[in-house]
């Protein structure tokens, strides 16, 4: 679609990156002035890496635009929490919203970026992050499906492999879906990828070549080409 002259960067003189570096990369890609929702878990780390003065506004779906950092000490107020039920703060210019208004922000397509954790992401951008599908698991979705369906861009932050070394980036999700074809970018410890109708493209890798990751993940990961 757009023409780009960027090539995939392979960082081979180092190992996989840690969660802090993943958060820094995810934060770096958010444009100044964006409205952003950070999911529970790994994505909350992204908040620590947003540039002050960038005008990025954080939304938490339990009803706040303009969320500030996690509350400490005297700042802790039981009436001011984030979607993970952690006490947070409000920034100047904040606004409180009830649940219908807060999810209207999400479903109405007003969030520029949402960053979510995931169990699996398919090469076409399907997302599975709410249910392992285990028979005795208690299903619990929260706002994940609304965010998947509503945000202009859905980015995922996750380790590339489960603890048992099976990949989370998959040809087809085997876990129950949160949303179809909604994810556009995936930040992992082994690399950053674009996913979507054209499959998986590596933007940057850490500790492996694109071909090595392709083989280990078991799907065809392509490089950025000079002119797409």
């Amino acid at each position: 679609m757009t023409t780009t002259t960027t090539e995939t960067v392979e960082n081979l003189n180092r190992g996989p990156i840690d969660r802090v570096e993943m958060a820094r990369l995810a934060a770096h890609d958010i444009l100044p002035g964006s409205f952003v929702n950070l999911g529970i878990g790994l994505p909350t780390l992204v908040a620590d890496h947003l540039t002050p003065g960038s005008g990025i506004v954080l939304h938490t779906e339990n009803g706040l635009l303009g969320m500030g950092p996690v509350a400490r000490g005297d700042q802790i107020d039981p009436d001011l929490i984030n979607a993970g039920k952690i006490p947070v703060t409000e920034l100047p210019g904040a606004a409180y919203l009830h649940q219908a208004d807060s999810f209207a922000v999400i479903r109405g397509g007003h969030l520029d970026v949402c960053i979510l954790g995931a169990f699996q992401v398919s090469e076409r951008g399907d997302l599975a992050n709410w249910h392992t599908g285990a028979v005795d698991a208690i299903p619990a979705v929260g706002g994940a499906m609304d965010l998947a369906a509503g945000a202009k861009s859905v980015h995922v932050m996750m380790t590339l492999f489960h603890d048992d070394n099976t990949p989370k980036l998959v040809p087809t999700c085997t876990y129950p879906l949160t949303g179809r074809g909604c994810v556009s970018r995936v930040y992992t410890d082994h690399g950053t990828f674009q996913v979507g109708p054209n499959g998986v493209t590596a933007l940057e890798t850490f500790g492996s070549t694109v071909e090595e990751l392709s083989e280990r993940v078991g799907i065809n990961i392509v490089r950025l080409s000079n002119s797409v």
Binding site: T60, E61, N62, G63, L64, D77, P78, D79, L80, I81, N82, K85, E90, Y96, L97, H98, Q99, A100, S102, F103, I106, R107, D126, H131, D136, A137, I138, P139, A140, V141, G142, G143, A144, M145, D146, A149, G150, P176, L177, T178, G179, R180
Partner: protein, 227 residues
Amino acid sequence: MVLIADDADAAVNGIEDGSTVLIGGFGRAGLPWDLIDALGRLGARDLTIVNNNAGNGATGLAALLHAGLVRKVICSYPRQVDSYVFEDLYRAGEIELEVVPQGTLAERLRAAGAGIGGFYTPTGVGTTLAEGKESRSIDGREFILEYPLHGDVALIGAHVGDSAGNLVYRKTARNFGPIMAAAAALTIAQVVNIVAPGDLDPEAVVTPGIYVDRLVVAGPAPAVEEL
């Protein structure tokens, strides 16, 4: 006319067996703990509870479940670190569960209060939660049809109320209160204090008194339970 109840027991008086009870709050913020405890003491049974979660620890909503008063829970997120009361009942097949995406839950409540017969949402398309639901393509995008969620009763926690029933909330404790108040036939709110009409800024009222039937000043909040 708004009834100012002397205490939470008087406020929940008359809630019947089999009622659908909308309970506000997200975590502890906005949770009407005093009214929930009174509902437990009232002992109405066979309840359908609508809340974002399915209870934590052993008190509040979890205590209603533990006492066997609840037939069904409609919520978005029943699985929490300390939701063992619900989990045990669910695994034992002793309670029904309807999981609804949080935004769809909110919009179904809003539709009930606003007289909307149904609405098309993109949330959940292509997932197991859309199974059995009517879907429809509108302007090239797929939507599923969802219906309003009415309550017989709403129990909500607000900040300040005036004696005409107008309510303001505090920070993220606002959450489900305003939409549950409008969605229920009988709305009961616990507040920190009650002021005279005219003492709340009419520009800043979040829930107008037309949606509120009973008010009670809540006692001091219980301490945070050890997790």
